[in-house]
Each structure stands twice: as C-alpha cells, then as structure tokens.
Symmetry: C2
Subunit: 532 residues, 2 copies
C-alpha cells in the first residue's frame, strides 16, 4: 500500500536532521573516493566521494527513501497510476523508450500506451528515412538539408540540447549523414529573423511542436515562417509541404490539411520530459538518423531500469536524489550548479534547469496543501573549463556554499586533438575537472593572506561516462529526469504539472486586450511603448 | 578624504536593517510605477516600481551610498587610484571608451593611458577597415569572411554576447557589411573541432586573446588550430598570416613573428571588463565595422558619465546597485535572475554572470580581512519568453523568492514580424514582459486551490531602451559593470581581482605532472581515466 506523506512528517527526516554534519574537507581520501562510485547504465558511473555524507547519513537516506516508498512510487508511475495529481494524468515518459517493468501493459484512452508510442516510433523511422534518402523532397524538388524545430520550453530545450550534444557524431556512432538542425523558440520576432536569414527555404523542413496546438509563441512563429515563405517569391514553393507537426491527437494541429505529416505525443508526457518522445524524436531522427535516436532511447531505457534498484548504495540516481534532499532540507543550500566538462553539452544545463525547476519548484504537496519546508532549488550552470574563468570565483571564495554536479567523459567526442606542453587538450580538460573537485572539497589555507585562502568543504558529485555517445547521452538525460522524480516523491509534491505558468499567460492576454482597466498593466505597457 | 569601511560598520546599514519591510504586493499602482523610472544614457530607463522599497528605504540607501562614498570612489577609480588592491593595479576599463571625467589624464607605466587606448582604437580601425575592404587578404589571396576569436572567460563571454546581440544589425545601424564571427573557448578539443569543421580556412582570420599570453586553454586551442591548418593540405596556406593577437605588451604573444598583427590591452583592464577594449574591439570591428564598435563605446561612455550623479533618485545604476544590496544583505536573497526579453541578448546573462560573480564573489574585504556579511549573489538567466516555459514555475510558486532584473525594448531589432490573433510578435513579447512583472509582484489568491495560487511579492526591476542599437547595447553593458562596481564599494571588497581561480590552476598542473603523490587527485584521475 502506497502512502503519501510530507517530508517533515517522516521519522527518517527527524533522524537526518539530528546527524552531526560531516565535513568532507578533512575526510577525503583515495579509499573513500573509490568506494563512492555507483555503476549505472552502460559506462555511466555516479561518484559522490566529495559529498558531505558518511555511512551513517547514507543509512538514514536509505531509510527515508524506503519510508517515502520511492521505488514503489516509481513502479506505480510506470504501471500507469495517476501521478500527475493536479491534472489527473498518468506520467508515461519512461514508456517512450521501452517497458522498464517487463511485459507491463498500460491502458489509457482506450489504447495500450506502449504500443501507441512504438507506433509513433515506426512512423518517425519511416518518415525520417524517406527524407534522409531523398524520397521525400521539398516542394520544388530539392532534397531536405536543414530541419527547423519551432517550439518552446520542453519542445525546445531538451531536443536542442540533445541535438547540440551530438554535433560531432560520425559513422562510428551510427550516423551516416547529417542534416543541419536549427531552432526557433522565442515569441521575439528577432529569433525567427535570425534563423530564417540565409536559409535555403527550398531545402528546409519545419517541425511545429506543441502538445496543445495552441502555444502562443509557436503559432506566432508558424505564421512568421509562413509569411516569410510566401514573400520569398520562390516559384513553386508550397509552404504546407515543408511543415510537419508533433502534437496530441486532440489538438488543432492534428487534422490540419496545411501540414505534410503529423506525429503524436499525449497528455501523459510533460513537455520537459518529452525529449525521448516524438518531440525530440522527429528532429533527432531527421538530423542524425533514426538509429542514433534509437540509441538515445536505449541509453535512457537502460537507465530507467537500473533506477528500479531499492538499495541506495547500488542506485546512483537514488543516491544523487537523496543527497540532494539532504543538501537542500538539512544543510539549507538553495541552489545547485550543473557543470558538464564537455562543450558539446553546453545547453544541457539549460535543459536540466527547466527539468528540475519546473518540476519541483512547488509550494504545495500533491494534495494541494501548502508546505512548510523547501522544495526544488535553483539550478544553473555552464560548461567547464569555461566556468572556471567566470563564476567559479564565487563558488570557491564567495560567502555562500553552492553544491555542484559535475559531468565528465574519459574520451573526446570528435576526432581532433593536439599536444601542448606535454598533454593533449582532452587530458587537460579532465585534469581540470579532477583539480576542481579536490580544490572545492579540500580548499587551501593561507593565514598570511586570506585573499588567497580557500575554505574548502564545497560539496560536489560527478557523473562519468567513457564517451559522449548517443547511448550515454540518453542515460545522462534519464539520470536527471529520474533524480527529479525521486526528489518530488520525497517532497510529496506533484512534479508533473506547472500551474505557475498560468497567471502570466492570463495577464499577457489581458495586456493584449488593452489591459482591461488594470492600472499596473497599463503603466508598465506605457513604459514598454505598447500602444492601445 | 576617502574612507574604506566594512558595510556592517556603517551607521546607515543599521538604519537600513531597522526599516519595516515594504510589501510591494498591495502597494503597486500606476503612480508608483510612473514615479520609479530613472533616465540613463540615450533612451535607457531603469524602473524599480516593483522593488520592495519606499521613499524611506531609498533615503537610507542614499545615506548608505553617501557614507560609503560611492561616487567619490568611482571618481578616484577614474582618476587612476589603485582600486585593484590585491594586485596593486589601477582599474581603467571605463577609459577604453572615453574620459568620463573631462580632460583628466591618467599616467601609468610611463604613458598617458587615455592616449594609449585611443592609439589602439586607431590601430583597430585601420586594421579592420583593411580586412573588410579586402586590402588585407588571407595567405592564398582570398578575402576574409569569417573571424574566430580564441579566448576564454572575459576574452570570450563579453565579446561573444555583444557579437550575438548585433546579429541582426543592418545599414540603418551603420553596418555596411557583415563578416561571420565564431568563438573557440573551452580547452575541450570538441569545442575547436565543432568550430573548425566546415570552415573555409583560406578566408578565416583567428584572433588569439590572452592578456598574459599564457592562458592554458587559449594556447592549447592555438596549437589545435595551427595543427589543423597545417594538416589541411591547402597549397600556399600560411597559418601565421591568419592569426592576430590581443594581449598585453609584456606577454609572450607581444613580439611574436608567428602573428600577423598585435593589439594591446594592459593590466588595468580585468578580463570581465574588457569587452570595450581591443578584446571586444577587434572582433566587433571586423564583424560589423569599426563605426558599430565605436557606437558601443559611445553608449558605454555616456552611461559612465550619468553614473557620476550622486543623487540616487537621478542615477539608475546607483539605485539598481543599492536596491541589490538591500535585497542581499537585509532581505537575504542569495540570487538574482537576469532576464532579457530579447533573443539577441541570449548570452548576455552568461556575461553578466561572470561580471558579477567573479567580481563580487569574495569573502575578504579590500584589506584582506575575512567578512562576516554576504557579498555577491549567484546570477543566472535565460531570455524571455523562453524562461516562462522553463524555470519561471519556481520563480512564481517555489518556496524561495528570487529577485529578477528584466531587460526590454520597445521596438524589434530585425526587420521581420507578423500579426497573429490581432497583435504582432513584438507586441506579444512586450505584453508578456509586462504581465510577468505584475504577476510576480501582485500574485493571485486562490483559497479553493492553493496549487493555482500565486503568493506574489516577487521583486523585479526592468531596464528599457527604445531598440537594441549598438549604442543601447553599450549603455546596458556599462550599466551592469558600474552596478557591480558600486556594490563592491558598498561591500568594501576588491571587485577587480580573482584569486579564487588560482587553486584550481595549481592543482590541474599537479594532475598533469602525475599528481605528485596526492591521493585524492590520483583517485579522481583514475575515475576519469587519466593515464600516467
């Protein structure tokens, strides 16, 4: 029987708070570091050696995970229970990459959802194969060379981060041909303007992505693109033959004659969890080939399976989630920096920022009761080593402690490197990551000049994979998704709705309708030069 | 006589803490909003209507600014006083755009620094004119069409953010021809690999940027690029004729035969303040023309001048800085979100993140004494409306309050827009900004369903300019630079050094030397697959 309790009603939380804080500074050693690695899917390893937890803390974190029934709740979610309590919906994004619970069927809306997603996958494979082979061409007979995704939020950040991550992919990772991927997201017309300038429209395919089919930004950008195509004066160009959609089957985009093809997602996949659904699948399959997208799914699926392990010492995602709760609710840190040592992952922090903050930035529990403890932290980050020359100053010597989540790879992704001063760039990159973890944890005293002193005790963890392959990318994505899910269970919140976006939408409509007499909206509209 | 005191030793700070908190939620009205605009340079306006300060608070903030002698310290800085106390250096980045104190000369290293920077400007104009007109060509005789900046931290983020910001610039803003700008920063070889693939080397010019001429990442990337050019097999390609440098005149890059031209900065310009020096000037002048870069300088210079105003009610930068101190040290908020409603400014938050966190993420005062109050906050941000579909959920309904700094423009930058549902995209963009400010400030009650309730009282300010011109861009840049400077004066810290980056550098060298027996470094090196 699953029971839903607030964190501060659990016995384990009281125990957790009573534990004497563990200072990593004087406790870090080789044995501890080596013993703090947990193997996850494929080559992925989570290491928490530099986190302020000892065996006693971990035992209580296990008890808390058990008391909050995290694995049971995860299994219930996979089994089709209504986990999005606000919107009364199932939560099925894991199912887009396979059945984490072998053989389990999930019925909803009169269909078996696993089959529904598999069918969409077949459609994606078929369509992307035909576009990539030149069987489906643009309306003037040119082969498609560029795909432009028009979507915002979850329809943009995840797919974009994954596309950028695989930028250097080649034949050894199963990509025989690359199309160029571009993205239009912002309602700011300058976004579309920048992407459209210099584009060869005849060889471009646009992907409209909106679950509801009513997203203001996406419809505005669709109209901008159509207008631009119509004005281009290109003979024989038929805009409708250059547009496909990813939407739900109840949306206005679903049965639209002005569209070449439609791929379906559904209400059980939140935007921020949709990268492995057709939302990410169509553009990734077009850009790099369906096989590459399938490897991402396989990596995510394998990770979903290892996340079922109840033993926190054998489940890196669970450990990561529970340490995060400890950092947030006992040690009181209000943020976490996500720092990939991989330039290819440069937009992954922005995706994880949405994933985490939109899921767990909540003030009520799953029953709608206002909570009196902290939930999700602020997430931010940039790639290393770049960040070292930027905001790391504050992380090292600022007046607050910012926990860090590093990501690193043993090997480079592309095929270029060179020696300089006796080491390759890839080795330098890794040496810097190693150095930062130890510098943050151990610090360095300087009694003569405190300006050169480092207090240390800055906690961090690191996720390591052999190389940034599509499989590893899928695993890393799922690691963060499942971490966020587990933390939502601990906090007893609904991680799958986003009511916080509604008020802004309502007021924006009001402004566009002339402010309806609201003096604050009127005054700010005047400041921004909006004419009524 | 200038006196340097810690914040908590001032009389005004005690008064500030004693003020009864002002809740913006029920106090926002048209009169307040209209009265809270301060005109800055050009069309720039700073509005603090939705900040939790009333007239009483502002009076005490003025007293604190006076007591900490902010304007006197700014004037001393402009006059050449040693403001970078840690490194015993002058701080002269404002001088790169003109003399904010009319006629004031600044001598250092035996030269008058204003003339020194003016001379570099003339060199930049001459060189960029010749490249853009085709007088200087690549080594095989092709015109230069792409410029690639190789630099990291301040040699990357500011110049990159400015280059991206002006992406849509055209003739009406003084740009007659555009070259393409690219950037290589990370020591990760995949960064260079991604930029170099598909580049026409014969028509590419590289700009090496490193003040010391010894930056690990930049030298490694220089060697990668040279190797790539040598291996290209292009007949007649002479790599040295495709490389210029921006460095100090004492660096190993200064008198280097392997370089086409050298432009100088000096030790009085911190990396994060160097966007208006040759660090930003060379690439911006090559990409958009010297006249465009000059307009940026003019906008920054005009802003430097208005920042001299001692009356906080007439000095938007000072008001912004002092409200920030109130949010940080009295209300206790550990972060600020920077949210430009302009896709062209998409990398500006990353630049301001460095500017602020590297300058003011300090734990000692300017005399090296450890402080017992908070200094610089964590800065993060993404463009709106994108953020609305991402992390704004937490900003609206999370368990913490995150102050926000919006940036908006009345008109679009590019020349594309369309109507959809009765309004243009640009109007929608502005309507969303207006809506967010009011939604954050006022919230909305919902006693029946707390999940749909918005607490409100989320503070924000907004910077508004008519349009994102080069002049406005320069003004916005200088606004943030000067805000950070003023806050550093209030906190009595040195905002111009960065000792916090040193320990990581030392330990990275140690790793590359085989870890020198450090078991922690060895254990993490093993985890990352570094072979010794």
């Amino acid at each position: 029987m699953i029971d839903y309790k607030d964190l501060n009603k659990t016995d384990s939380f009281s125990k957790l708070k009573a534990i004497k804080p563990f200072d990593i500074k004087r406790k870090l050693n080789a044995k501890r570091i080596e013993g703090a690695s947990i193997k996850e899917a494929g080559s992925l390893v989570y290491n928490y050696g530099a986190m302020p937890v000892d065996d006693e803390t971990i035992t209580v974190l296990q008890a808390l995970a058990d008391e909050q029934q995290l694995i049971e709740k995860y299994r219930a979610l996979l089994g089709g229970e209504i986990m999005n309590t606000g919107e009364k919906r199932l939560v099925l994004h894991q199912l887009t990459r396979g059945r984490a619970l072998d053989g389990l069927k999930v019925m909803a809306d009169g269909v078996e959802k696993g089959e529904f997603y598999e069918n969409e996958l077949r459609k994606i494979k078929d369509f992307s194969d035909k576009v990539r082979s030149g069987q489906i061409k643009g309306s003037t007979g040119k082969e498609i060379k560029t795909v432009v995704q028009i979507g915002i939020g979850g329809s943009d950040l995840g797919p974009r981060a994954l596309c950028y991550a695989l930028n250097l992919i080649g034949e050894k990772d199963g990509c025989k041909k690359k199309l160029e991927a571009r993205f239009i997201s912002n309602v700011d017309p300058d976004d579309a303007c920048a992407v459209l300038q210099g584009l060869d429209l005849e060889s471009t395919l646009f992907i409209l992505v909106s679950k509801s089919g009513t997203t203001q930004e996406t419809l505005a950008n669709r109209d901008l693109v159509f207008k631009f195509m119509e004005k281009s004066g290109i003979k024989g160009l038929v805009p409708q033959k250059h547009v496909v959609a990813v939407t739900s089957n109840t949306s206005p985009l679903a049965n639209n004659p002005d569209i070449l093809a439609v791929f379906f997602m559904d209400d059980y996949i939140g935007g921020r969890y949709s990268a492995t659904s057709p939302v990410g699948g169509v553009i990734l399959s077009l850009t790099y080939g369906f096989d590459v997208f399938k490897q991402i799914l396989d990596g995510a699926h394998a990770e979903d399976k290892v996340a079922l392990e109840p033993d926190i010492r054998k489940n890196g995602t669970l450990m990561d989630a529970m340490i995060g709760v400890y950092l947030r609710n006992v040690l009181g840190y209000p943020y976490t920096a996500v720092l990939p040592y991989s330039q290819s992952l440069h937009r992954m922090p922005a995706h994880f920022q949405q994933l985490d903050m939109e899921s767990n930035g909540k003030h009520v529990n799953r029953f709608g009761k206002v909570l009196d403890y902290k939930t999700g932290p602020v997430i931010f980050g940039e790639p290393g080593t770049n960040g070292q020359h930027s905001f790391y100053q504050l992380l090292h010597q600022g007046t607050d402690i910012v926990p860090m989540q590093f990501i690193g790879f043993k090997e480079k992704e592309g095929n270029l490197d060179a020696e300089n001063g006796g080491s390759t760039s890839q080795t330098k990159l890794k040496a810097n990551l190693v150095a930062q973890i130890v510098a943050f944890a151990c610090g360095r005293e300087n009694s003569e000049n405190p300006n050169k002193a480092f207090e240390g005790s800055r906690p961090s963890s690191v996720l390591v994979a052999d190389r940034l392959t599509p499989f590893a990318l899928g695993s890393i994505l799922a690691h963060f998704e499942n971490k966020v899910m587990f933390q939502g269970f601990v906090w007893n919140i609904n991680s799958f709705d986003q009511e916080g976006v509604q008020l802004g939408k309502i007021l924006a409509k009001k402004v566009l309708a002339g402010c309806e007499g609201d003096e604050n909206l009127l005054a700010y509209s005047k400041l921004l030069g909006i004419d009524f």
